[in-house]
Symmetry: C2
Subunit: 156 residues, 2 copies
């Protein structure tokens, strides 16, 4: 093997990336974030869209149409996704209180646990990281993150 040990790049922004260690680490962080979704879905035994829907349902109930819109899929697909989540016991369909056309899809405790159980370790560590910053450092980091988000947002 003449090539260096694998060390999967997995980067979305490759080639002509010679900038310094800050941007290089930012790239790694974004890659970690990207890989986290499929990894999580795999562990939970869900597809990535099912996971995405479950995430939305954690915040508040929504109908299939709204979920379809947020995920960028058709309502037909959303129907199927909700079907599968319901079949696994991660979500439930409830009648909408005021509009009888609609269905309110809500996450069950099972669905919430499935997600939170995996996310907790990260939450804990991130909270520690933030706590370790001084007020001045927090400002610097906040500004950088905001700027970086704007830059990445150019791809959307």
């Amino acid at each position: 093997m003449g090539t260096p040990p694998a060390l999967g790049p997995q980067s979305q922004w490759v080639d002509a990336w010679q900038p310094g260690p800050v941007l290089d680490t930012l790239r790694r962080l974004l890659d970690s974030g990207r890989r986290a979704t499929p990894a999580l879905a795999r562990r939970a035994g869900l597809t990535h869209t099912e996971l995405a829907v479950l995430e939305h349902l954690m915040e508040d109930p929504a109908g299939p149409s709204e979920l379809a819109q947020r995920l960028g899929v058709t309502t037909a697909a959303a129907s199927g996704i909700v079907d599968r989540l319901v079949a696994r016991g991660h979500a439930q369909r409830q009648p909408h209180p005021t509009d009888r056309r609609r269905t309110a899809v809500v996450a069950t405790p099972s669905g919430r646990e499935e997600l939170m159980g995996h996310l907790m370790p990260m939450f804990a560590e991130l909270a520690q990281v933030e706590a370790s910053l001084t007020e001045a450092e927090r400002e610097v980091v906040l500004r950088f993150l905001t700027d970086a988000d704007r830059a990445v947002g150019r791809l959307l």
Copy 2:
């Protein structure tokens, strides 16, 4: 609505996320990164796996097996992905110089342009962001990004 204005959550780490503005912005940045892949793929008329393969090919040629391993799919799937990239003219199959079983898949100029054209604006802005930091700030940001990457890495 007792909750704050919609503001598309799209977050992977929802519920019980009350920490400060730094982690909140980090969440937004990671979400932007996650959404960038499908958005880019859509614009380029590729599937997300085809895009991922193209990214790897930007760095150096690779065989279907290696690509399959990096993407976490079977070699059969990798064959098909390469087929599609070749059909679109974004990649080419070349005989491996020393091992006649292997195929070296290389990105064509067309493939490179497809990717770089979309990525350039982000590169430019990110470079500016980095340049705007003092040396001291750079250290703070670097440490934060490294720590955050470790935390997110817990999900992998």
